[in-house]
Symmetry: C2
Subunit: 249 residues, 2 copies
């Protein structure tokens, strides 16, 4: 079976790497960014192109949601399976006469960071049983955690991930901005952050809540508001309001 | 040296446990909640009281910020050291003729969760060198990470911790609310959450940002807003606005 990955961003890179590490042969990596493709191709020992898409049985489009449709139109073949890796798009975003599917890895991908692929949940949606079998077989070589998911459910999985990952990372970024402003090393907070995550393996996040808002400690809340400004102040107020609503304080 | 811990909440429990585990003798655990104190005392093999505070060299007041002043007035002795564990109060919140200090462990404490005390940073502020030595010696038996800190700096440490821990946990709680509403197991998101935290050990959080807001993917941002309501929608808008401001999008 011939497989091509299309894309030169973080998701494409990590998928290609997971394929190579798990001995799933890649016929080609295809994309626009020649510099990136060259780097990836040298690291993984795969061929690449920015111009000529090779003939293949499976095309995995791992590009940003905005580009999926445009890229999907570049595939002229009919007798093939084309998948995208988006958490939010329906498989019908793929525009062509081929078989369509969704192949969504739930993870945050940064190029410079090694990943344990075996723990990444894959959510798959296909048009028929045969394609489902193909994609389950491939994903199962990479991960222990492969599931079916409708587009409707996948949208909510992606939305949950935005809260649990993207927004969490942004809180770290704003937190570091505050500690940097006082020359407090951010490393001090790493054991606290680890424990915050360790906790939710054992306790419901709702029951694990600590801090001034859930204690309704108005004096501290006011003090903190005086120390903050701009977007961090907005976040502070919004989060405290939401905490107090959740616990009916 | 006689040591008493005052309080029956999470911080008092975990401090008492850390003391006992590290063979620092406790003369007494003192507090209002007899039921809790009895449980802790039975688990740790320490004596407790809700009425008679024993004579001691060091009193550690581990109660909520709102109660520190009131509790500190209960200590009639002069020749002793009294400390509180608050991240936000000055040591002058302690009202008495004794020596005063701050003894702030940077961690999130939940009773039902085991903790690795050796990784907890302790921030200490005293009136004199002798008391500093006493508190450093005690804290160093528990943790590898003991530092001095002024009240001014401690306020910002606490504020940073609210973003990096309390708000992060609340995002987990709101995320779980979303996934629960669609009967999506929250366990799916644990590898993603782990990776989100693992990343900041290697990459600046600012550089690790992923997701629709930093890609300025307006179509997804609008779709997500349609799926949300109430406090989660407010959080969604505030966080995206802050992300887009940070990256000047």
């Amino acid at each position: 079976m011939q497989i091509v990955i299309i894309g030169s961003g973080n998701v494409a890179y990590h998928l290609a790497k997971a394929f190579v590490q798990n001995k799933i042969p890649l016929a080609q990596i295809f994309g626009r960014n020649e510099e990136e493709l060259k780097k990836v191709s040298e690291e993984l020992g795969t061929s690449y192109s920015t111009k000529n898409l090779v003939d293949s049985d499976l095309y995995i489009i791992a590009v940003s949601d905005n580009s999926v449709e445009e890229v999907s139109e570049m595939i002229p073949k009919k007798d093939c399976l084309v998948v995208h890796t988006s958490g939010s798009l329906p498989k019908e975003s793929l525009k062509g006469d081929y078989r369509k599917a969704s192949f969504y890895p739930l993870q945050t991908f940064s190029k410079s960071k090694e990943l344990d692929y075996s723990k990444i949940p894959f959510f798959i949606e296909t048009e028929n049983e045969q394609d489902k079998k193909i994609l389950f077989e491939i994903a199962s070589k990479i991960s222990e955690n492969v599931m079916e998911s409708t587009h409707e459910k996948r949208k909510y999985i992606h939305l949950t991930a935005v809260f649990a990952c993207n927004f969490v990372n942004h809180l770290f970024a704003r937190a570091k901005e505050i500690s940097d402003s006082q020359e407090i090393p951010f490393g001090y907070f790493l054991p606290l952050i680890d424990e915050t995550v360790q906790k939710i393996y054992e306790i419901e996040p709702r029951s694990a809540q600590t801090g001034p808002a859930v204690r309704n400690d108005k004096r501290i809340l006011e003090l903190h508001e005086q120390l903050l400004h701009g977007e961090s102040l907005e976040i502070y107020k919004t989060m405290n309001h939401s905490i107090q609503k959740m616990y009916e304080l």
